[in-house]
Amino acid sequence: MTMTSEAATRVSNSASVHLEAISKSIGGTRILAGVDLDVNAGEFVTLLGPSGSGKTSTLMAIAGFVTPDSGRITVRGRDVTVLPPGRERDMGIVFQNYALFPHMTVAENVAYPLKVRRLPRREIETRVADVLKLVQLDALADRKPARLSGGQQQRVALARALVFEPSVLLMDEPMGALDVRLKEELQLELRRLQKEIGATVIYVTHDQNEAMLMSDRVALMRDGQIEQYGPGQELYRHPRSLFAARFLGDSNLLKGMVRDGWLDVGGLRIALPTGTLAATGERQAALLRPETLTVREGATGALMSEDGACLYGTVRDAAFVGQAMRYEIDVPGLPEPLLVHQVACAAHAQLAIGMPAQITWDRDDIHLIALGDQDE
């Protein structure tokens, strides 16, 4: 979608949002357990997490539909914790099912927040026309929502949430009901649009790819708390917990104990990344992302290499998944097979099931996660 930047509304009043220790219990169940989050003006932040992690509840607390038991929410420094949703709170919301008014046309839906603000009719018309052009729905202005496709409905919802230039735009899994192709297209569109108009967006999803694709920063949630908050790349490369490592992308986690500058994983010696300061006796897990591993045919019976960045095993499963080969390699001494994603190209010879395999990596691609007492 090309942006008609002349008409583009620039959200001039996009605001920063801060959450401090937001807690909420419903019927004795703690759904939010002290959520801290800061979002800069014009930033795209995604709340990511499995269902029940509290991401939608957090969004609804920001929207004002859930009143926290304790904690503080400020928008541009102003406390809005107990402010009801509405003009004062000034937030545009795209609901999961879009919540388009079925008895109004596209244009009437989009005009609704402006009519509520009693703007002059002429101004309403111009602004509705502008924002519909922005989301490329100007041709469908007189349709009822029931006669739109899912993607079009989503864009109407977006236009309606943008048209009154709210200080913050909240989106609750807006791609959930769309098919994969359309989803990818709209994700990029939304990202571009957000950058263009400079809106502050807080976005909820359970889809890690979507989160990483779109956001400046991702807040990974678990059990009503934020597990880790940072740019997607940081979360992916340097997860602070096994949960974070497992939730974002595929992972190989080798748990062991640091011994004399090596990680001892059930007798296998793994070299630590250069410059690591880890004392002997610490329990650590080495995260090896499947795509950082290289696999080739190995010598039968080989066990260990000297440099600690190489393992030997047997191909347990090999599958072609399009852009890559997906291998599972049984390594003696490891409880689970190692997962390897290797780009399918001429440089890599394909291995068959049952073949001996050698897996190598760059020791600096390893990320260490300190294991707590609970981690098995």
Partner: protein, 270 residues
């Protein structure tokens, strides 16, 4: 999401009061039925079973009840069986035909009751005099037919056609498929339709008023005459009895629903 823009404690209070007002008059019939004198009061000075004895011992009320039971039973049977065929045809037929059939079936409900009663009266004039009770039953069946059809059509619509196709492809004969597949699934709808048909037919007044004659008087006609000419607590006794019947029907309905739900969630039990 917790905000409910359209609600207030006033609304809630008002709604509960209205529901109470719907029920209280009917509940008030119970004390009235236990009155002792001929005048009626919701708070009788002295409780007695006088009017219960009067009604249960009176030949007139007993006859009226017997006639009602007879006509209503026949009407229920007719409405349920014809309604089932209609529901089946409506659910499985193609578009234009279906619309005509639907309107035809619904006509007795759309036309004012007094006109259905009139046409039944005409029908009775074509028939021998000793078939009058049957004509009452047919008229009652006509009034119950639309509701019965709608209910059974709704439950037949709930049957996945692939199940029927599967049953036929497994070699089931038509009658077998009906008995072993369609009927059990549609049973809930059939029972509801029968229960409602019974209540509608039992409540029917005008047809019976038009066709009534000495020795043939249904319960509603008896009540109607009694309200018009006597107005005694005997009517309250009959009303309490009728409400007991409805309570039983509603409890049975709830039990059946629960049973069907349990059976549906546990297919092995079928």
């Amino acid at each position: 999401m917790s905000t409910k823009p359209i609600s207030s404690p006033w609304l809630a209070g008002y709604a509960w009061v209205l529901l109470a007002l719907l029920l209280i008059p009917l509940i008030a019939l119970v004390p009235i039925s236990f009155g002792d004198s001929a005048t009626m009061s919701a708070l009788p000075d002295k409780l007695s079973l006088r009017w219960y004895r009067e009604v249960l011992g009176g030949q007139e009320w007993r006859n009226a009840f017997s006639w009602s039971l007879l006509t209503t039973s026949v009407a229920t049977l007719l409405a349920t069986s014809v309604g089932y065929l209609a529901a089946y045809a409506i659910v499985h037929s193609r578009t234009r035909f279906k619309a005509i059939l639907e309107i035809l079936m619904l006509m007795p409900m759309m036309v004012p009751t007094v006109i259905v009663a009139f046409s039944t009266y005409i029908l009775a004039t074509w028939m021998p005099a000793n078939a009058t009770w049957l004509m009452i039953a047919i008229g009652q069946a006509l009034l119950a037919l639309p509701v019965a059809t709608l209910i059974m059509a709704a439950s037949l619509r709930g049957i996945d056609p692939t199940i029927l196709r599967a049953a036929v492809s497994l070699g089931g004969q038509r009658a077998q498929v009906f008995r072993m597949v369609t009927l059990p699934i549609a049973m809930h709808g059939i029972l509801s339709a029968a229960a409602l048909s019974f209540l509608i037919a039992f409540d029917e007044l005008l047809i019976a008023v038009f066709l009534t004659k000495p020795g043939l008087e249904t319960l509603p006609v008896r009540i109607y005459d009694s309200v018009t000419y006597e107005l005694t607590p005997a009517i309250a006794v009959v009303s309490v009895f009728l409400m007991g019947l409805i309570s039983l029907a509603m409890i049975a309905g709830a039990l059946i629903r629960r049973f069907v739900a349990a059976a549906a969630s546990n297919p092995a039990s079928r």
